[in-house]
Symmetry: C2
DNA sequence: TTAAATTGATTACAGGTGTAATCTTTAACT
DNA sequence: AGTTAAAGATTACACCTGTAATCAATTTAA
């Protein structure tokens, strides 16, 4: 069962994944572009702690927050959910949609090809066992 | 500004994209696996009509519903949003996450390679202009 | 023609989310 | 030691969503 983190809360997680631990005010600062009041950001931090995806340590009167889950794990979960919910698990269609609509740069194309080659050799070596 | 369609509503859209027009009861039938009451499904249809993403024509006492937006367009929108919100627009990371976590089948790998080749030749021929 | 059944419309309601304001506690300054 | 200011905790509130039940209109059956 996947952890539920809302859109706005995700922005907070992104900040903490970039750097942690941070005080609430430091998080607010890093989210300036969102134009959220300090109160709003603190609400999000609170909810994230309650959801168990952010932890904190006390530092005098304030808390220093850190992510309690790994970004990679979270992204994998979200991606899985997206694939299932939007594309009904049809990976080929998902990939086609991204590749066709986003006009990947040559750089991105090369990168992806590299990924595919790595993936294939992984499979070969493990399948052979 | 993107159209907001909830998870449950998306299931209804999927049914209508597969076949339309359909009466509400036909939609209910096709959603049996979801175990939603007929009332619930009708609520979703109503909301979708209000959101302007489903249209209907009268057929005697009942309505026949159809999608008012194209599936491909919708998927592209959702994918764009997912890329931005979850991966902050980082396409390479998104692709890496899918490729690495999903253990693509050989079939899917070949398909993706084909997509990449097509994409590259598109780019070359148009770039040369 | 009246009653029953069906269909869509309206209303309901709890939990999540965006967006804060207010309350409470306690560290810190005087 | 007492007062204050800042940090977190609690409360607020409207809108969305999942999940229906009830209302109203109308078709159909008796």
């Amino acid at each position: 069962m996947t952890i539920r983190v809302s859109e706005a809360e995700k922005s907070v997680m992104d900040v903490l994944w970039q750097e942690s631990p941070l005080s609430s005010l430091e998080v607010v600062e890093k989210l300036q572009s969102q134009e959220w009041s300090e109160k709003t950001v603190k609400t999000f931090l609170n909810r994230l702690v309650k959801k168990g995806v952010v932890s904190f340590e006390k530092d005098g009167r304030r808390y220093l927050y850190s992510p309690a889950i790994e970004r990679e794990e979270f992204l994998a979960d979200e991606s899985e959910g997206f694939l299932d919910k939007v594309f009904k698990g049809n990976m080929k269609e998902l990939l086609a949609t991204f590749v066709e609509n986003k006009q990947l740069s040559q750089n991105e194309l090369d990168y992806l090809k590299g990924l595919l080659d790595d993936n294939k050799s992984d499979r070969e070596s493990s399948d052979v066992k």
